[in-house]
Amino acid sequence: MENSVYHFTIDKTLYKDKGEQKMEDKFVLGGKEFNSRFILGSGKYNLKLIEAAVKQGGAEIITLALRRANTQESENILDYIPKGVTLLPNTSGARNAEEAVRIARLSQAMGCGNFVKVEIMRDTKYLFPDNYETVKATEILAKEGFVVLPYMNPDLNVARDLQSAGAAAVMPLAAPIGSNKGLATKEMIQVLIDEIDLPIIVDAGIGKPSQACEAMEMGAAAVMANTAIATAGDVPEMAAAFKLAIEAGRKAYLTGMGRVLARGGSASDPLTGFLR
């Protein structure tokens, strides 16, 4: 623990300092710079819509899953992802650290970079991530040089352990995967944003652009969304809506937000009357 990484993530602090000049707002992850803070999931919709969704959503990172190859279809998802987009393979299907490590290594062997989203589930009803196994897998993969983005249930101690294990970011869930319920874990995510010196990427459960916007206003470094877009009437248009919402939330966060007037009056006796 004592040697854990405590570097400043520039994107969380640079804008806040009055003494410093405003710098360009880049999202830095695993040594790469991104202009977009929207991570697009590619599940549950037609491959042919992916390119349009990426373009309209301005996404620069897209998640993928690994499966047994199909010989019946000649189309492959990689044919549809525009060049320059960073691939973020997940470890879905893994039920423990060992399986996640195996899947991550296989994904890496595909030759599309070393980013990996660790997701380990042994619950098929809610699909909640197993935090304990996730920490174990993160440690192994980070040591092997992966840029590890662990999907987790928001818990401060686990987030600290993930940081010590070498995670490049932490991906707390907002609500159960695919539930479109929004920021059900808002308070816990806020704690992670306040306390962890890594980008916090809100993942899972974000159902509407307004919820993505709220996560960004809170100080999340990025938002990942899939089902909300996949189930929309018009997939590329919804991706565009998310792009705008994420940008709006980021801008609001960077400007420091305005004041909210407190309701109700204040007590009459001054607390500071004793000062000389």
Partner: protein, 419 residues
């Protein structure tokens, strides 16, 4: 040497001429002094980037650039960011003092309820190797020096424990020769018999030594950085191991690495620009908390009092209002941190500030050596060591307890088990 410091330099006619000459040379000739940023032999260097982060932030802090709008915004936020904290420390926040106090009161209540901790300090030796120009214990000062024997320590502790006090802070002057680590460790072992919670405020030591002291029974370690401005620090701490600024800065971290449960931090406000020192102190706590989230951290807030009726009031003087502003800002930024208010402050101030944000006060305080029986029970004894500074609030344990209760607070003497 700037004018305001001249008041500190007091020569004794009892000093041998060579010593006097050396003292003057230290005061007048910076090249005669050692490099204050360089570790001395035997001082452990630990891996830590907290110093750099704190110094950088302090350096960049331009408090005059904050406006009432920034303060308003800071007050409306649920969590106080570093930038919000800076706004709250700025002169622009002065008109918001009452609102800051109300918010601080609410946060303090959320975290600490109505409780206020009471403890007492016990000075066991006043020998010192350092020449710090503002301190009564400095090695050139002609004071009665004393180091209590183990029998005297036990006697003093019995006198204090009889009042009902359960937490003690053991202090020494900073002399490794006269009050070595084993001597302090033995004193702690005695304290263990009479008290449930033991702090030490001694010269900074290495990790292994903190570990030893923790095994003897120490719960927490307090080290005052005095000022975080290294250049200013250099002009105040002219000689001795205290002169080494970075070794002192890392003391709390070494203590936590040695297994201590908690650590205390402080600048002596008014030595330098108090707003910058307050920022640095709080950031020191903030970064230590992020790195050692299990540690119990606390802040103290001693200040050099402004000279009363001085027509050239220094804008950097720390009056009661400024001190209150700093403490409220500390509370908003570090809701979890303990805040201790020294007996250098008046009873009125301490009664008021404990209702807002302070969580710990000392009582039955004597900064002299071996004079508790005299002070507590009126017995005269000529063989006592001189005091470090004069105190303002000299309430006994019993009357402090009573006053805190009267103010609607619940005095707590101790709240945990030693592990």
């Amino acid at each position: 040497m700037n004018e305001e410091n001249q008041v500190y330099f007091i020569d004794s006619d009892k000093l041998p001429p060579e010593a006097l000459e050396r003292k003057h040379r230290l005061e007048q000739d910076p090249s005669f002094r050692t490099n204050h940023m360089e570790y001395m032999d035997g001082m452990q260097v630990i891996e830590s980037d907290i110093k750099d982060k704190v110094l950088q932030a302090m350096d960049a802090f331009d408090y005059d650039s904050y406006t009432a709008m920034d303060v308003e915004r800071a007050l409306s936020h649920e969590t106080c960011s570093i930038e919000d904290f800076k706004a709250l420390l700025s002169p622009a926040a002065a008109p918001f003092l009452e609102r800051m106090a109300r918010k601080a009161e609410e946060i303090t209540k959320n975290h600490f309820g109505n409780t206020v901790y009471i403890f007492t300090p016990l000075y066991i030796a006043n020998y010192c190797q350092n020449y710090c120009i503002y301190c009564g214990f400095n090695c050139y000062n002609n004071i009665r020096r004393k180091k209590l024997t183990m029998e005297e320590i036990e006697h003093e502790m019995q006198v204090i424990a009889k009042t009902g006090m359960e937490e003690i802070l053991i202090l020494t002057g900073e002399s490794r020769t006269y009050s070595d680590v084993t001597y302090i460790g033995e004193a702690v072992k005695i304290a263990r018999k009479y008290f449930k919670n033991i702090g030490i405020e001694i010269y900074p030591v290495n990790v292994e030594e903190y570990k030893y002291l923790h095994e003897c029974g120490v719960d927490y370690v307090t080290v005052f950085q005095e000022t975080y401005n290294t250049d200013k620090y250099e002009t105040l701490h002219l000689m001795g191991h205290k002169r080494v600024w970075p070794y002192r800065f890392d003391a709390q971290e070494r203590a936590l690495m040695g297994g201590m449960r908690g650590a205390g931090f402080s600048a002596l406000l008014g030595l330098d620009d108090f707003r910058k020192d307050a920022l640095a102190t709080a950031l020191h706590v903030y970064y230590i908390n992020r790195k050692y989230p299990h540690a119990e951290l606390s802040l103290s807030c001693p200040r050099l009092r402004p000279i009363v009726n001085n027509d050239k009031i220094n804008p950097r003087d720390v009056g009661e209002k400024e001190l209150c502003q700093v403490l409220c800002a500390y509370r908003l930024f570090l809701p979890f941190a303990g805040i201790t208010v020294s007996s250098r402050e008046s009873a009125t101030f301490r009664n008021g500030i404990t209702k807002i944000c302070a969580t710990k006060v000392s009582a039955g305080v004597s900064t002299g050596i071996g004079d508790h029986e005299e002070k507590y029970e009126g017995k005269e004894d000529a063989d006592v060591g001189d005091e470090q500074f004069e105190i303002n609030d000299n309430r006994s344990f019993a009357s402090m307890y009573e006053d805190m209760e009267k103010g609607g607070l619940q005095p707590v003497l101790n709240d945990y088990l030693y592990v």
